[in-house]
Each structure stands twice: as structure tokens, then as C-alpha cells.
Subunit: 201 residues, 2 copies
DNA sequence: ATGCTATCTGAACGCATGTTCAGTTCAAGC
DNA sequence: GCTTGAACTGAACATGCGTTCAGATAGCAT
């Protein structure tokens, strides 16, 4: 039997991507088979190939979509004045965005090594572009004399690692709420670069 | 032909573990086959089973050995006085130890999800024990009024993530030397918890 | 020189993999 | 009510997987 009532490509497509993202995050790209993804969606493995040319593209598309969304959301942030306020805003944004998408984040950061060279180059470029927005803030802050960082590139990577680490332990409904976590991390980020944390918003 | 001159188990065993560690770090546990490991060592796949009961044990042993070494080295640190000096020492130690073992670190942090439940529990306990040594420093510092951290557990995870992140980009002979990186990260760690960085040693 | 044993080979095992494709099914357009 | 075509099945494909094991090899003790 094929085509149960109401099943269309607009439904199945996203469901495949969601299942793949979830399974890739949980078990890793290489450890997940197309048949497992299909089973999660309730479909045979062959049907997946109506929605993706191959497994590799499925991974690359997930990562690209995540990073595109991240960059777009970051670019849409309301403008604020001064390096401290900008870093505070960036840190809170980064935490918030990543907390809401633990699976996508996990995949985007852990499966880089499973990308074919061409895909790797493209994804890596997006990642670098995001890092550059943070580094620009740090450079401006150092030029303005409000951040004390010996090396902006290193500080960028250190801050990103620290902020992204939140996805390793944060769970909805845990001991600490979203806003608290954002506030604490933003304060630590400002401290780390030698600035004073902003008063709690 | 078997047994080339001078080839003994004391040689082959470590070579297998080294090859496995390197390949697991590069491509991921699930993406690496026993035949690839064997080829790297210059041996047939069957020979691996003289040194490990199965692929899973190979992974678990690598991770356990790494964490055992980390805990032992951490415990062997010379005692220093005061939370600031202890955090400074811990940060430098962490950076230095991890910089020297990028493959082992990568495997120990990224392949947790590929461990069978029993192995996972054991490895996770070791990791937690290591984190606890840092959290103890932060608690003492807060009790002494020299660290300003709203939540020591959260600060612990944030610092570990930041410090471990160094393995993602550090390369021997790069722009920054080992000592510089250690100093910068130690300063950022102290800053992050609201303490003043120690004068450069 | 001979036998012993640790070390390793090479082939085989059953099974899972990513991918293809001829054929089936069903909602919608006429 | 018939036709069309998108959505999907189910079987098959070559290949590779982890693991096993009988047998070959070579250094060591005697």
C-alpha cells in the first residue's frame, strides 16, 4: 500500500530531515542507516531518495540550513551601541539560539569530518562567517580600550567554545532557567575579555 | 608470511591502539573499519583480535586510558596556595595536557555516544571526577570571596568547554606558542570567574 | 636439528549497508 | 468513471562490515 490519506511530499520531506537530524545527533552520521531514518518516518528506505539524492546531501543540507538560519538570525539582531552591549547581546543570542536547537548544533559541530571536501569547504565558510561577527565585536572593543584581549582570534574561539558548550548539559525544565543561563554566560563572556558585566536586563 | 623479524606483541599492541586512536579521531568510530586499522598497522584484520576482544573494547580502552592518565597527571600537580593560583595552575595544566593529545581528547569527548551503556557509565564517571576537581577550586574560591560565580557547576562546565576548545584549532608550530596559549587561556579563565589574572609566570 | 608456541594470514561466515528500479497504490483533474 | 502522475513499496544489486578460525610461518629453547 502506498500513499496513506493526506500524506504528501510537503509532509514527508520535513519529517525525513527531522528524523535524520535527530538520529545523526544521537548516534552520529556514520552510525545511522538510511533504513533507520526511513523507519522513524514510517516509510521504506527507497522512498528517502525522492527527497534527497543521497545520504551525504542529507547531512550537508541539514548543516547548511542550520548555519544559514543562525547567520540570518544573527544579522537580524537589533543594533545596539558599544562593544560591551554588543557582546552581551551576542552571547545571549548565541546561547538562546543554540539552546533551542540542540540536535542541529550537535550535528553541525560534530559531523564536519564526515563531509565530503566540497561540502566541508562550503559549511566551514559559513561557520567562519559567524565567528567573524564575534571577532569584529572583540576587535572594536579592544580598539575602544574596553576589552583586554591579547589575541582577538583566540578569544573568539574561546568564547564560542564556552558558549556553545551549553548545549552539552542544558535541558528544558532543568535546575536553571533559560534567562538565568543566558545572563550567567553573558556575564562570564564579558568578564573573560576584561569588561564588566552589564547590569541584569 | 607471518612474524617478520622483531615483530612482537609489545610492538603491535601499542601500534594498533595508536592507529585506532588516530583514525577514530579523524573519521569517527563508526566510520572506521577494523580493516582500515589493520591496514594502518600493516597487518590483516584478523590479527587485531589477538589484542582486543572486539572493536567496542578498543574504543572504551582508549578512552579509559586517556582519562586515567589525565586524572593521574592532575592529581600529581604540585600543591599551590589560594584559589586563584590553583585555578591558574589547573587552566595551564588542562591546556598543556590536551594540546599534547589532540587525538585522544577528540575521541574521549566525541565518541561517548558510541559507547555501550556499561562502558559509557564507567567513562562518564571518570570525566565527572575530573570536572569535580575544577568545581572544588571554584567552590573554595567562592567561599573565600575571590571568585564571583553565580553557579559553580555551570561555571565548571563553561570553563572546561572553553579550555578544551583549544584542541580544535591549536597546531604545533602555529602563530601562537604553547606557553602563550596557556597564559592567555589561564587569564581568560580567571577573568571569567571574576578574579584578576596572575602576573605572567 | 627439532619441536614449540606466539604471531599472523587468508578465506570464509552471515548480515547490514547505500542505492536503484519496476511495479503498485491512491488522490485529483477531466 | 477514466486517466494521470506523484508517492511509495519491496526486492534486488554489489559491496563492505565485524568476527572467527584452520593453517602457515618464524624465532626461541632444547
Amino acid at each position: 500500500m502506498a500513499r496513506k490519506t493526506g500524506s504528501h511530499s510537503e509532509i514527508t520531506g520535513p519529517r525525513i530531515r527531522a528524523a535524520a537530524e535527530h538520529l545523526f545527533a544521537r548516534h552520529g552520521y556514520a552510525a545511522v542507516s538510511m533504513r533507520q531514518i526511513a523507519a522513524e518516518v514510517g516509510v521504506q528506505a527507497g522512498a528517502l531518495y525522492l527527497y534527497t539524492p543521497d545520504k551525504q546531501s542529507l547531512l550537508a543540507d541539514l548543516m547548511r540550513d542550520h548555519l544559514d538560519g543562525l547567520l540570518a538570525a544573527c544579522a537580524a539582531l537589533p543594533p545596539v551601541n558599544g562593544p560591551e552591549a554588543r557582546l552581551d547581546q551576542f552571547a545571549r543570542f548565541h546561547i538562546g539560539y543554540h539552546i533551542d536547537r540542540p540536535d542541529a548544533v550537535f550535528v553541525a559541530y560534530m559531523e564536519l569530518r564526515n563531509l565530503e571536501p566540497a561540502n566541508f569547504t562550503a559549511i566551514e565558510a559559513l561557520r567562519r562567517r559567524y565567528e567573524n561577527t564575534l571577532e569584529a565585536i572583540l576587535r572594536d572593543g579592544r580598539a575602544a580600550g574596553v576589552f583586554a584581549v591579547p589575541d582577538t582570534k583566540l578569544a573568539t574561539l574561546a568564547l564560542i567554545a564556552m558558549l556553545t558548550g551549553v548545549t552539552n548539559w542544558y535541558r528544558e525544565g532543568g535546575r536553571l532557567g533559560r534567562a538565568e543561563v543566558e545572563a550567567i554566560y553573558a556575564a562570564m563572556a564579558l568578564n573573560a575579555v576584561g569588561a564588566s558585566p552589564l547590569p541584569t536586563r
